[in-house]
Subunit: 269 residues, 3 copies
Amino acid sequence: MEIKPYTFELLCRIRKTSPLIHNITNFVAMNSSANILLALGASPVMAHSIDEVAEMTAIANALVLNIGTIQEDWMESMLVAAKAANQKGMPVILDPVGAGATSLRTRAVKRIMDETTIAVLRGNASEIFSLAASSIKTKGVDSSLALSAQIVEAAKEMAREKRCIVSISGEKDLITDGTRVLRVANGQPVMTKVTGVGCGLSAVTAAFCAVAREEILFATTAAFALYGLCADLAIQISDKPGSFFVAFIDSLYTVGEKDIDSLLLVSEE
Amino acid sequence: MEIKPYTFELLCRIRKTSPLIHNITNFVAMNSSANILLALGASPVMAHSIDEVAEMTAIANALVLNIGTIQEDWMESMLVAAKAANQKGMPVILDPVGAGATSLRTRAVKRIMDETTIAVLRGNASEIFSLAASSIKTKGVDSSLALSAQIVEAAKEMAREKRCIVSISGEKDLITDGTRVLRVANGQPVMTKVTGVGCGLSAVTAAFCAVAREEILFATTAAFALYGLCADLAIQISDKPGSFFVAFIDSLYTVGEKDIDSLLLVSEE
Amino acid sequence: MEIKPYTFELLCRIRKTSPLIHNITNFVAMNSSANILLALGASPVMAHSIDEVAEMTAIANALVLNIGTIQEDWMESMLVAAKAANQKGMPVILDPVGAGATSLRTRAVKRIMDETTIAVLRGNASEIFSLAASSIKTKGVDSSLALSAQIVEAAKEMAREKRCIVSISGEKDLITDGTRVLRVANGQPVMTKVTGVGCGLSAVTAAFCAVAREEILFATTAAFALYGLCADLAIQISDKPGSFFVAFIDSLYTVGEKDIDSLLLVSEE
């Protein structure tokens, strides 16, 4: 798999076919996720009522479940939507925002992963680690060790056990299917100073998976790399969070083959 | 009716009197609708609880109902608010986001239109078409035909039947009272690449109707034209969605008589 | 208390320790409050479900309650969270958005203030006045009199009665503990043309109180002054609301000791 041409190919497919991405996401990230998807070329829709989620999933091309600001009835809607997505073989991306912070969130993620099939789990190191088997987990994770050997093992084991891609945003992103481990070095620290940027990557991952055939490991890697690359372009405009985010949205809209060819930083461990 | 001086007159009234616009709208567009109304000179308020909507409507000057991210209890609040608005003769603007996509949304719009009196229905061609009488509707609408003769007929018939203004955003906007058909050529394609821009127009239409007396057809046309004109001004700053939207907000704040006189593009069919 | 060095000291503490600010806030301001807190250097979390608010408060350093877009079940969550915060002695900041506009909102504020202990109440003059004892209140407040003697008296009395800081945003902000009255002259009128700016100040006040020890009166004053100062910096970039807000976020991220020393405008009455 040549990741650069593949990334560009998927980007072109997104822009050409405008896949419909059904988001059941948190209140904070709804607006930014929609704008990120639109700038990329995808079509976002937000719908959470149990009275319509199955129908919306039926016409969508990928589903994003994001548990930030979760509440009980939204949880039920997520399960209904994920089951509908599973039935039609459509990719489901799960963003475990704040898993480990409260038992409601940890429980929500576990329930979704137990009762439905997830294509990609995308979070930060602390969230992913909080979901790892207790055999791996010791006493919480020091964020400075975020992408340490311990986390790599936890991610690989989880990917094998759950048969999904596990992807971790960090200084150097990690994407694994349980066997192979890919790394993305694109991205900028200021991304952590803007809300919804992680959630937006989950949405972008959904768009990439929506237009990929089988290669979800590489589609996820392509999403991470392109997203980080757009931050690398935006930082040239501004390194302050307000104007950086504006430039980042602009970059998602304008990023092209030349940028990908010269700036994409993906490696395999 | 001279549309240019009328548009400027309504804009001045909005800026002078700051009409209070009560929005029961979707989670994605709440922030952007509020900012759009503030930049224009109106006063937005968002309130959806059934325990306060009637009271809020009582002190407001116009009501916006927007069914994106609708759920059952919000639906009930919309009906209560619309009835309160009808009782005091205050204009209600309905934005049927995603009508046709799920039965919940189609049903929500039909129920609002059956049980209350709407002043203006504002959507895109596919949404409006999904609500048209089956006598008009054939097998869905090709978006390339969006503003074709078929849509014009559907809009006119709906306007006559429901005794409201039907307005459709598109390459060339359409506003009709069932008899007259007005067209607005202002606006930019990049508006479809920013979330909440359509919803924002519904809110702006509410502000214009709030300060108009009887001429709702022309107030709606003025709202569409001014909104598109602000996009025409913003595109001169940037044609990329992130920075375009920032410039668009700025334009709503600074747009003046000279811009209206030289750039407003309204015609009658 | 030297307010300039104290303001800078608290800012440094926020940037160094990234206090976790638990927000139960309205749908409109969630995204902007999160971005404002991130730019400042704090860590925002939004969580409203009654199934997790106590746990979230337990790991947080301050709590913001904001009643814009309030609904019954969120109200219950606010009470649970505030009680958990009180138990651990963590500051609670209450933003009474729209108090006085509907009985639901007025009742919500009164219930929170009756059943829990608030460290800081932050609103505009009309909101604070609507909550004042009827002995003070006559027939509503003319906004042109917003910070008149009448309001100062109402704020002082409320602060003494409720044993909290009462702070009022306006042309010249007022912060009082019932005895002392501090004034902040920083800030720009265009702040009222961007949604969520007042809500964002409540969040910033929470961040300052989170890192202060006992001096809540001065921590609140420092928050107001720094916030207004960032607006004073941003207005030099743009005086239009879209681009002003982008520059304002950037200023929160870059503001430093030199700006504070030369531009902070705090006085005592």
